[in-house]
Amino acid sequence: MSADDEHPDLAAMEQVQEPDLDRGPVEAWAAKMISNPDRAYRAMFYTATVFFLVTTLFPFYWLFMVAITPGRELSEVGALTPGGFDPTSFITIFTRLPFHRYVFNSFLIATVATVIVLFVASLAGYVFGRLRFRGKNALLLLVLVTSFFPPAAFFVPLNRLFNTQVAVLEPIMSEGTLYNTPYAIFIPVSAIFLPLSIFILMTFYSQIPDGLEDAARIEGTTRVGALFRVIVPLSAPGVATAGVLTFITVYNEYFFSSLMTDGRPENWAPMLEGILAFQGQYEVDFHLMAAASIVAVLPVAILVIVAQEKIVSGLTAGAVKE
């Protein structure tokens, strides 16, 4: 078969190189990318991945470096190298201060807040996602507006409220106030993070076919029973997403948790107060703060790894789920 018989397009494809043009290395590289866009996409993917990995993981690496450097040699820490090796910081943080108690406080507050938020947001999400009634959109907007305020706007009234002595609380609470109790933390924090969860769950619950709820109600559940037996299990990715987002935010929350307690661990001071407690009046134990930070990340890291699969499908599949 001679070249004349070939289809002109095929002939053009054969000629990868155009020898007449004298190209510089950049031009040649660009031409290669244009003729083979997959390479360009792959290159972009790796560039983006490396960028995100470095920006997210480098701080951890640096924390770790600082954490294993002995306190006296902190000035020796280089850009990439530790100033020495002394892993005892990871033990000192628990002996000098009850750092485990701070972590436990935050963990407990975050867990309780997550449970409350998921329960209330499930009921609200059901109402907004599945019922039709007058003024629904206005009400939903009102709920969402709460999350638009800066938390600081709520602080003064809440602080006054929680420092007010309530006679009913006196037998159970010290001094009859909510100040220095976990309630003073997770009540406002739950309220502030509730709208986001309501919104996530509303989207998921609205996509469960009506027939399934009707079937559950006929089989013997109430509306609420159908919600928790059928709608919630089928919306597991959405519930996991809302739950993990709430847990992480509350666990890392500092504003309310530091202001609603006096900073002592036995008064439910949170994990961040614990990290900052290694900052003395005359010296700052950066290595201990670094070690404490790494330890504090662990519970969240474990939670995310466990729930990862659900979260990913929750963030991506929500919109198209049947």
């Binding site: 009707d214 559950a216 013997g220």
Partner: protein, 375 residues
């Protein structure tokens, strides 16, 4: 097992009346089908019986007990849905036993009942399959098993066969009839498909725009429709309607007249009436003896033939050049069905007769039937 009674049931949505003052009594053990075009309120009526919708007005009684305000779970009913509605996160056993487990039955009793129900719908050996691993027909059988396992007083079915393919639908139709015989439970069935309604039910309730048009056994609805709507809805292809007027000598219209004595038929000269005749009651002139009481002969032109195999539908025109429209049979058009071996060709001139015993007369204004068969 129980009778069901609807008393002045009305359901109003903001600006639509879905069900309008409906009164209906369904006997114990009866198989009643709600049939009507989509959006006619038949599903809403069923939902009020199920308790998924609370009626705006009126009462629902199941077994003499007023259940109007009771939640669905306390009504002793079960339901099969159009979209089948198996719980996708549970296997077959969990789906079937869902209601029993909620009612805290003994494990032994649950196992026994699930086994029996699965036996009735032939689902043995599939207990640990997930719904997504099953075919449409199998899922439908699981849904039926879930409905029968609780021994409901009333069994509601909302278009249960609509999502199945044609072959399976016909098969399930006979299965449901056997099931009804076996269970002897009151069954209320909703469909828009009048073939399902005709074949399965003891009585059919024809519903249009939220109103009950007729409640009678299928053949009564077919042979003695109460009004124009039932006459047109029941039967496929639909009844021929000719709009005309009563004169002293009988029925007269633009293209067709039928002599009779108005007095004996209970009509008055000058009254606007619609004459109805089913396609199978129209005969070719040579076979006029097959008609019970043949009418006079009409001259027609064959327009189009639709051979169905066992019969041929023949579209006739009163004269050449009559305008035909795609969506309905207009004036001067008539549909007849003939034997497949009949000598009919398109564009032929043919003479036909109609069977006077099978002529229906309806008042054009009230749409109510006046007489079935000329006396």
């Amino acid at each position: 097992m129980a009778q069901v009674k609807l008393e002045n049931v009305t359901k109003q949505y903001e600006d639509v009346t879905a069900v309008d003052d409906m009164n209906l009594e369904i006997k114990d053990g009866e198989f009643v089908t709600f049939v009507g075009p989509s959006g006619c309120g038949k599903s809403t009526t069923m939902e009020t019986i199920a308790g998924l919708t609370i009626p705006t007005d009126g009462g629902v009684y199941i077994g003499n007990e007023n259940v109007t305000r009771k939640p669905p779970k306390d009504r002793g009913i079960s339901m099969v849905f159009q979209n089948i509605a198996l719980f996708p996160h549970m296997d077959v056993y969990d789906n079937i036993s869902f209601g029993l487990r909620l009612r805290k039955y003994d494990q032994e009793e649950i196992d026994q009942r699930v086994e029996n129900a699965a036996d009735v719908v032939q689902l043995e050996g599939m207990m640990d399959r997930m719904p997504e691993e099953m075919s449409g027909g199998q899922r439908q059988r699981v849904a039926i098993a879930r409905a029968i396992v609780r021994n409901p007083r009333v069994f509601l079915m909302d278009e249960p066969l609509a999502n199945l393919d044609a072959e399976l639908r016909v098969h399930m139709r006979t299965q449901l009839q056997r099931l009804h015989r076996e269970l002897d439970t009151t069954i209320i069935y909703v469909t828009h498909d009048q073939a399902q309604a005709m074949t399965m039910s003891d009585r059919i309730a024809v519903i249009n725009s939220g109103e009950l048009m007729q409640v009678d056994p299928p053949l009564t609805c077919y042979n003695e429709p109460n009004n124009l709507f039932v006459a047109g809805f029941i039967g496929s292809p639909s009844m021929n309607f000719v709009e005309g007027q009563i004169t002293n000598s009988g029925f007269e219209s633009e293209y067709m007249d039928l002599p009779f004595d108005p007095e004996t038929q209970g009509v008055e000269p000058g009254q606007d009436v619609t004459l109805g005749i089913r396609p199978e009651d129209v005969y070719l002139e040579p076979t006029r003896n097959q008609a019970g009481t043949p009418s006079k002969t009409y001259d027609m032109v064959v327009d189009v033939l639709e051979p169905m195999g066992d019969e041929v539908f023949v579209f006739l025109l009163a004269e050449r050049g009559i305008e035909t429209s795609a969506d309905e049979m207009g004036a001067g058009q008539l549909l007849m069905s003939v034997e497949p071996d009949a000598d009919v060709q398109a564009n032929q001139d043919k003479q036909i007769v109609i069977d006077r015993d099978r002529v229906h007369l309806f008042d054009s204004e009230t749409e109510q039937a006046i007489t079935h068969g000329l006396k």
